[in-house]
Point group: C2
Chain length 165, copies 2
């Protein structure tokens, strides 16, 4: 199984996400994460998709996605030349007995405590996906009440860039 | 126009994103941002959607989404009781003449410089969407080469939580 991070620049039309999601969903392989949001050009949205699957099938879907009217550009990000980041919000059960211990883990990972009440706290952590995973492994030693990850967002290192201005 | 942040807990099946996106896309109103990723339960994915539109239409779509077989829960996040965060990666043209000035802005916003070359730098910033917007406004004074936002991810403050463990 191959894991690919794909970046799409598409026209910011209603319905474009449906068409992209259906191309990927149809093949029955799942999307690990997907983010879509604005770019510096209001007419263009950026979709970042992480997929796992057979290399050839991914290649086919990339070609099909490239043919969509709304697709301006689609490219795979080379892990060796890219910056991958993800944001996590996690709510953990915490009271007087274990608050310090949890806070110590947060400090080591440079996670920020952004909400605190008598029985729980919410932490925010930004980093490479592996770092997020390993922080979550530590938090599993406590009780995770709820969590929310953004999915991966990515840019290439260096001066190379893709944009439509 | 009303802006709503909706949180969905759905079965982690191939195709669920297509169905959700098509419910929202069909009405012709656009999705401002969407993130989908794993939760602490591998069988469940979490989708966070930011939509703008008529309050009644949003309410209708929420009801329709709730009826989907894969939907475990859908709820709107109250802005007064929620934590909204977003992650930005932005590549800006920067050389010896303006590197210090850009770095100073980054320091004020607590943005991290995560890549640097002779002609550009990449910064990472996590915060409330308004903070991201205002940082980008500052960066427009320089030359934005490329950017990538994750879209909003959100949790409620306090102990209340939604999860399926």
């Amino acid at each position: 199984m191959n894991k690919e991070v794909l970046s799409l620049l598409v026209d910011n039309h209603s319905g474009v996400l449906t068409r992209v999601a259906s191309l990927f969903g149809r093949r029955g392989f799942n999307i690990d994460s997907l983010t879509v949001s604005a770019t510096d050009n209001p007419a263009i949205s950026r979709i970042t998709i992480v997929v796992q699957g057979d290399e050839q099938i991914i290649e086919q879907i990339v070609k099909q996605t490239d043919k969509l009217e709304e697709t301006r550009e689609i490219f795979a990000l080379d892990p060796n030349r890219s910056l991958f980041r993800e944001l996590l919000l996690v709510k953990v059960a915490a009271d007087e007995t274990n608050r310090s211990a949890i806070r110590e883990v947060a400090t080591i990972y440079k996670a920020k405590i952004i909400d605190l009440c008598m029985e729980s706290m919410v932490m925010e952590l930004t980093g490479e996906p592996d770092k997020i995973d390993s922080f979550l492994d530590m938090m599993k030693g406590y009780q995770i009440l709820e969590m929310c990850r953004t999915g991966i967002t990515a840019l290439e290192r260096g001066e190379a860039h893709h944009s439509f201005n």
